[in-house]
Subunit: 140 residues, 2 copies
Amino acid sequence: MDTAETVLASRGVRPTPQRVVITEYLLNTKSHPTADQVLEAVANALPVQLSRATVYNTLHTLVEAGVIQEVYTEPGGCARYDANTERHHHFVDTKNGCIYDIPFEAVPSLDKSLDDNYKVSNYTVTFFGEPKQGQPKQES
Amino acid sequence: MDTAETVLASRGVRPTPQRVVITEYLLNTKSHPTADQVLEAVANALPVQLSRATVYNTLHTLVEAGVIQEVYTEPGGCARYDANTERHHHFVDTKNGCIYDIPFEAVPSLDKSLDDNYKVSNYTVTFFGEPKQGQPKQES
DNA sequence: TAACAATCTTAGAGTTAGTCTAAATAGTGT
DNA sequence: ACACTATTTAGACTAACTCTAAGATTGTTA
């Protein structure tokens, strides 16, 4: 079991107290928190004030180091952060706006479909519609 | 050839001068302008001041009436508006942010790929990468 | 281990892309 | 013409960041 310190050190990120608590929080939640949610959740785990700027700095550092992923679910919405760094697509429930993660493998590969004219390095698919019965409830 | 007035009238949207010039601009560009670009492009085609609020009101009205589409290309980026309301996908040039329309048929159908768990009514694919040689230059 | 440079954090100001509000104006039906 | 609704406007407001300048902390070198 990797501690936040270990993870940070192994990626060459100096494990300051602020970075450690933020990383710990992200490694231990399955939700996709916003920057503000991270700030709120983590603020009183530190003996000092935690600044908004530090939260953003740290999140960007962690993204660059590959520890977390920045995810946009709602179009036009704010960034969410996810310690699960696997590629995935999204399904938007048009009735209520809920968003479900779709595993990357659930969708046939489109890597080659524009080969004639474009060099594709990445792509994302957003589906719209309604879940059928029995979909697992998932935090957005 | 449909004029902006005709299009608006046929969708039950009262063709005010502000709406007409905005619609004209969008029907005649292949670019995917932001709200601010619409404002800048259209402002001096009117004898009166054009307010930012009116631009947003009009864009929302046009989206609801099905005259244009709201498109989000860059994750976390701002809304862009597209008078091409045919189903299509987008390719984002990661070097310069230019956006190209990808015909719907250029991508294999994904309508059935989530059939087990979801009723999919629509989907869009956004590709990221670089165009190969000889792509037609297109405004972003 | 003292000096100093580099890195990190902070509060708060600034920016962007909108949304909201209240008042003025324009258009519609009778 | 009169009441009523729809539309537009300027500008205040908001959310989600981003930037800045100063101070704190840490690491490095002598």
